[in-house]
Symmetry: D3
Subunit: 316 residues, 6 copies
């Protein structure tokens, strides 16, 4: 059976200090995995959808950590390649204070960045309900960008909607480089997710609504401008939606955007209307930030109910 | 020497995930004990009173954990039964986010639910200054409800005041079942503790004061309506008291109600006036919620002083 | 594609004290999963084979823990049932000293014990290279034993070899009950795994070789008598093999037998000769006991190489 | 009801590095309690006897830790004094390697060393079946030594047997000081526990049997010479017994002697013959050393059975 | 090369409960070091300055912990004395709730309190750009106070500015004792750091500005009145500055004052103007309170940049 | 003052799984540092000698971890370079079982491998009592090998003895490459440390004595052939010594060789005879292996005494 969502990119082993402070003070670093695209795949799978992710991992324990975690979450990995010639990339996250974070990559020449067009499973994409990509893949290597182009074209040719999360990473390219490349991608996408800052890499605009309009003018029918604790502004199928966020205690903001995309797409592939997509998107974002880790807090359907019940219980 | 307070019920081993998130992600679960009645017994003992608890525990490590913890806190266990025919009950607490919690019991057929009238130590109850019971005992088994009735009648016959905390648990019975049973219990109680929702299971009422009045009309001379961070409304000996809560960082709200009862009863058995009972009740509640666990944060007398000093020090 | 090995049974959440001593002293219990049949499925999958496991789990976090772990290890779960009417079983393991262990189950009425004939995927079994079962399934409930019978008959009818690990559990039935039932099972099995004690439940015999011969006389073509640190005695295809064990530091002996079966069957399904099966079986057993947990230490192919290299390096 | 055993002395908070190595490398130190006499009281209580301990603790968290732990283990503390004028003593244990340990005390002027004759509960001692003392009490302060003398005389006058564990601590006094004082104590004791080295502080002797005979010549009817992994040599009621030790993996040898005394005395107060006393003494010692901590591993009756079963099961 | 800052005093091993609650519930205590003066030395060194600290530590693991930590942070210890006759002082910090803390010292007769005038390195002080002292040193022993006087006089004679942080500790002396002594010290200081409460020990004053003026009237050219989350009021070189604090999540307020002094002095020794000194002082204070521990969170120059960037990024 | 020992090379951040098993199962990895040469520098410093290490580290938290740890241990770092253009190298150590370990480097293009001749502090080397180098430096990069040559020549020209530990790393070069290079280095060294296998890369020989003789024939006056638990064979100043090892429980064998060199050189620079050098070398090796980590267990002088005392106490 074909998956609802196909996505791909580089997923890394993630190491971070368990308590905030200088990372050199840590006696141990917490180990997990992270990758914008695989986070979204997990999020959709937890909400009952089926998701496939492909990419390259090294033939090492970190590669096996990635495939174990994704398979455990029910993400299909049939087209994932174990590349014996390069190591799995590492992401070190220094939680320097409750609100300040630094990132260090060991990513140059990694297995994940060796993704190439021949890795792209055309039939899988053609049978999907949505192809989800991010701007990160365009930045990690030339072959990865070619694979991205190939996948997007394959989807477009087959009439499969293309979902794009801009996901700008300053460590990987300059705003100018990113802006040019992302502009091209937005034009070929059907759904676009962006923060205000990311949107401004591509189009001008003073406020979220203006940015959404400017992006939509490039072609996408759904544009989602994410505003963190301020919620989201969406221009979907020609109509503007202002969606507030849930008020929750924030433990770790990383992954909120991937969760938002997962929630939105989970309802999109089920054919639900925009209001439902936005509701699930913000609920998924809320769960993501209340738990340590990039994807660990993502909700299942029962968790959505739990949140709803709690918020309706005014006396709770 | 007779204890100031006698209480009884089912105390369970408690297991919960150390960090918020899906419980299945935890590599270990924190182990402790919990039981509404024994929590209150510990709270009163920490405040210098003497408390006895009885009930059944299994002949297993969880039963020994319970008796070790209670004896360590100075709670008398002379009438506690080790039941070799059934396991100690388990309570799993999934901290799903900073504010959302799920509970799963392994409680069916447990040693604690095998409590029966023959376990009730009549002489101990007759010599106490107060008998404290909760609605939970009425819900766990028929024999436990019979033991509850027996204990309450014994106290009433001996002129020992009966303290009742409604303590509704939705996993154990329906609102209708609970309402009927609790109504009967309130009529036989001298002191009643309830949240607004719990009060509404028994009597109608729009606001805390109305609920307190309605409950008091059934008989009890002291009715305490607990409102969490909003404090408490009390109708004691015919007079209404509105008690604000301390403002503290909440780490774990579980056990706040048991702490409130412990604080109130600790001063009640010493013959202190209502204002003092309420002050200690709210201070005990404040300490309970700033520490992980159901009872671990309960204050001693020196802790009450520490809180008072800190709040009076405006420059602190 | 059909899996090489199909197996089924009850897999439980496993909780144990992290440091040896009375379990009540533990502040937290390590959480994992365990089940003889799923351990063997994982072991075979790690060695490059394909394995499917089926059974029932509760609709709770422990059920999700089990399916996440098994799917992460690449075990196929297409026929696993989430039973919303009963909880997942629990296994508490008290490591009382370095060599003494106690077990307590919360297993009565569990989801896993509700396994029934209608859960058996006949087509899956008919297409497998081996069906692996254990005596535990016969002991957990009447419906589970019926499912066991159904599965074994299905395999036999289709010419699929039946592998049986006696796996006697004294908490579940008496030696007499077990002996009678296992006798019947041995007669229908093609491969039989047993410790000396387990073998004696079914047949008389003074030493491993005699026991193996007596078991083989009941029908199985391969009989493996496991002797822990003393290795194994095998009567396979009519020939006796005495296989020594690797000398390794033992951290946790639980799961060694499941590992042995996994190693043996991994080579069996590849059509390798007995000597290779025994070599992999003992290597898998060696890895299993050097790591905490029932299955966590099971080796991949590269680990087998690592062990071989180390043992050949006399100067190491 | 009178306790079987009465004992007293100084119990300290114990802090030690969780992993072997220089203590300064530890990021945290494990916290517990330790005291030779209270260890023995716990050991006897776990074996079903009743034990009372008295002494002084500070009015601080470490004092409360001590009373909570002892009360939790069922040791009676009715005569324990909370001394608000001095801190509870601390014991730091640096586990420098698997076999090498260093100790640092913060004990000068401690609450425990302020023990004095007026603290001695004469009636409690007169009603006991045995009074158990150690040489440590004689070394911590003049008033403590006076209390020791007072207690011993009280027991002797009442015909209560006096049990003495020499327990030499080089940090507290010189061999010469200790030898003189312990000589006097041995003459007044009925049961004496000593290692070979400790025995030689008091009497000459080439081997355990000679040492036992020399000690017995001073008066005691039971002399137990402890030899660690080599077992014990006992001269009890005029007859020599050579008792082997159980073979167990040693995790922490501290507390083995206190366990041995506890096991011996547990059967002594039940009136069991010497062979049974020695059997329980060595089993208790075996459990003590397989668990981290001074007393945490001490066995209950069921643990003795578990050990016996395991050793009788040759195939296990 | 001479250090920019010379400071001295008593640094202690610090032990605290990892989770808030009664300290007796902790199974382990976190181990670190703390000392107002050495905290400031570390803070200045992290900001690129050079700092020397001297004092006495015991010849034990806690002494070695202190010298290892300070040397690791680049603080020069050439004149630090290892005193083999007394133990290193201990500081126990009971985090009783998120906002309430208790402290217990094992400090009487400690190595650090044996500091004496002969320990003072006159040449080192004469060559420094600032001598930093605190009121604590005056309170720990007579010889320490003499050493303090000696050091201050040495600096004044050599024209080296004297920086004084009042740092009142109620466990060490009374307000009256402290007030008298600190008054004398303020008169000899060039820079003075104080909270409002500490200032009032020395001078009268209703508000921070009045207090600063009153202190400045005694001689110091820079007076810094610290107000925690409310920032600071400074009267420096005759001009009043009102400095707001950064808004950060507070994890552990201990050490904020030492951090403030470190930040201020780091820019002072570089000859930067008051505005820069205050900016760095408040940034250092902000970092100090967002990380557990007294000094662990202190910022480097890159951390100052990170904070600035984050606060300027309004959309972050 | 000049240091006794000068050494240099690449020191890495070291990450390893806390419990043995597949590294992907670890939830956190322990963080420390490791480098053969800096391990030896720490070892010599702990034994009272003065040691300087130089090399390159990245301008990141791992670089700061390395300099903090080494400075904390008293190793001088005046010539260490912080290289802002490359990351600090990482070493992942997978403890796969109690005796089997795998290593994975993230070392290509690291800061440490950018060591070059211009980094070599000639005056420092000329003033030292010994220059200590290892074969690893020759293998990490061309510039590092040039720096190695430069340093060795500088020492030889100045009459400073050159100590060489062969330290073969199979991940960095082939036996043939290593053999040729190490042969050249041995000829220029005064002291040579090697395992039997390492020795055979350079010279033929059946047994340790033959290997020592063959190496000595190339020039060095002291040749130390290390044999792990079997001790060492030394050909020093023309005389053969057979040194047994201490019998200790081995926790982590990594770093034993570096410890051996440290012990030997610590006495060498003090001018002690060969027997003393060997005694300290084997004691240092014994301590190194009883503690987790590459250097953490290295002994101080007091630790040597503790070991000696324990071994002489036959009754202990």
């Amino acid at each position: 059976m074909s998956p609802d969502l196909v996505t791909f990119g580089e997923t890394m082993a993630r190491l971070e200090n368990p308590a905030v402070g200088p990372m050199r003070h840590a006696r141990s670093l917490d180990l997990g995995i992270g990758g914008a695209e695989s986070n979204t795949a997990i999020g959709l799978a937890r909400l009952g959808g089926s998701a496939a992710w492909f990419g390259r991992v090294g033939d090492d324990e970190f590669g096996r950590l990635i495939t174990t975690a994704l398979a455990g979450e029910g993400v299909r990995l049939d087209h994932t390649v174990v590349d014996g010639t390069a190591p799995t990339a590492l992401l070190f996250k220094e939680r320097r204070s409750g609100t300040l974070t630094r990132v260090q990559y060991y990513r140059t020449g990694s297995a994940g960045s060796r993704l190439r067009p021949s890795d792209v499973p055309h039939d899988l994409i053609r049978a999907a309900r949505v192809l989800h990509v991010t701007g990160i893949t365009a930045a990690i290597s030339d072959t990865a960008r070619q694979a991205l182009d190939d996948a997007v074209e394959t989807a477009r040719d087959a009439g499969v909607p293309v979902s794009l999360d801009l996901n700008y990473r300053s460590a990987l390219w300059t705003p100018a480089e990113a802006g040019e490349c992302l502009h091209t991608l937005v034009k070929r996408a059907d759904l676009v997710f962006a923060t205000e800052q990311e949107a401004r890499l591509v189009v001008p605009g003073d406020d979220p609504a203006a940015l959404a309009a400017a992006l939509a003018a490039l072609g996408p029918r759904d544009v989602l401008v994410k505003r963190g604790a301020a919620g989201a502004v969406a221009l979907c199928e020609g109509r503007l939606h202002v969606q507030p966020a849930h008020r929750v205690p924030v433990v770790d903001p990383v992954g909120a955007g991937d969760a938002f995309a997962a929630g939105y797409l989970a309802e999109f592939v089920r054919g639900l209307p925009v209001a439902d997509r936005l509701a699930t998107a913000t609920a998924a974002g809320a769960y993501a930030v209340t738990v340590r880790g990039d994807w660990e807090g993502l909700p299942g359907r029962a968790d959505l109910e739990l949140l709803k019940t709690a918020e309706n219980d005014v006396t709770r």
